[in-house]
Symmetry: none
Subunit: 196 residues, 2 copies
Amino acid sequence: MVHDSRVSSRAASARPALEPGAEGVGVRLRRLREQAGISLSELARRANVGKATLSGLENGTRNPTLETLWSVTAALGVPITALLAGGQTGVVRGTAVEATLLQVFDDGPVTYELYRMVVPPGPAQASPAHHTGVTEHVTVFSGVLQAGPADAPLLAGPGEHISWTSDVPHRYAAVGDEPVHASLLIRYPRAASPQP
Amino acid sequence: MVHDSRVSSRAASARPALEPGAEGVGVRLRRLREQAGISLSELARRANVGKATLSGLENGTRNPTLETLWSVTAALGVPITALLAGGQTGVVRGTAVEATLLQVFDDGPVTYELYRMVVPPGPAQASPAHHTGVTEHVTVFSGVLQAGPADAPLLAGPGEHISWTSDVPHRYAAVGDEPVHASLLIRYPRAASPQP
DNA sequence: GGCGACCGTTCCGTTTGCGGAACGATGGCG
DNA sequence: CGCCATCGTTCCGCAAACGGAACGGTCGCC
């Protein structure tokens, strides 16, 4: 369920502002606070934020700043992602592939994105070529995956690993009736120089 | 000109610690945007935020609201957590290996655990044999890793992948002076018990 | 019952993040 | 060469998020 999170410009904002994310954040915050066994006033005191701020945040009637979120989560001793990741984390949907971004690892010259991927049975998904030097690495959890360059796809069953350079058109498809679960690692070398 | 006596512009921080300030967020945002190959103006247009907002955000001179972060990350197609970069989930520490559990995938007869692993330079870490049928899969992000069965270790450099069956004693070590960053996937056939 | 401590919400003045507009810098093009 | 589009930064009025104070409500204790 991909919900459109584009926020209309604030012009003509005659409706009560309740952006999609704030509600869930408030609910999760209240749950975390109650799990910690402290009152709203006490948390406000520890986090050095106003009670009004905290109250509005838990009820979803405010649009908190990043600094506020950091203060509150630090006082609770939880990572800030505990408030934000409760809903769906980054889900990228293609025509036949659904990938959930687990982590981004940035090593200066190279960036890695680690996904968990699900390929349902059905028609293959075609992907256009990425930038030069991009490679993809897949380890299959379950099912049988056919993936790789469109002209020379590879096969991988449970526990197997395949990789290819994705600077050519490539594709993903599940072989058989079973959906494929896999981890997908995309490696982006630092392409600071655009191609003419 | 506003006189700000406490601007932390380009503070040459000695350690790569998680700075709760917006500075790290700005750096990551700029990197993600350049990786997507779009200009600041273009991203501002797509995300329906002002260029001033985006500029100040990338330079760490603003304290963005959650709504702004939602809009920008949605326009980039990345999860909001990609900006906050704090995946401090479960952390497993060995004598020479630090692994962060990213996700557990339970497929009935098989359980997968996906880690991000860091092996600092120094003496190797020895691991005793796991249960029969357990396999490990490593994809190296940076550095050179020597890993695998103690009597026949394998080598892998950046972007390379190695795997082995870990039902025999095995080891991990960084080759050279550079720490090794890698993803580690452990596959436990037949409902295995989590690692103590 | 009266009273004080604490709860979470609401009101209010101040602070600040917001988008739009204007700015100088840069590059493509006739 | 001038012209124009686009880049990223800076200025500015406005709306909103902020902390502090006041509010009504509930509980425990004398």
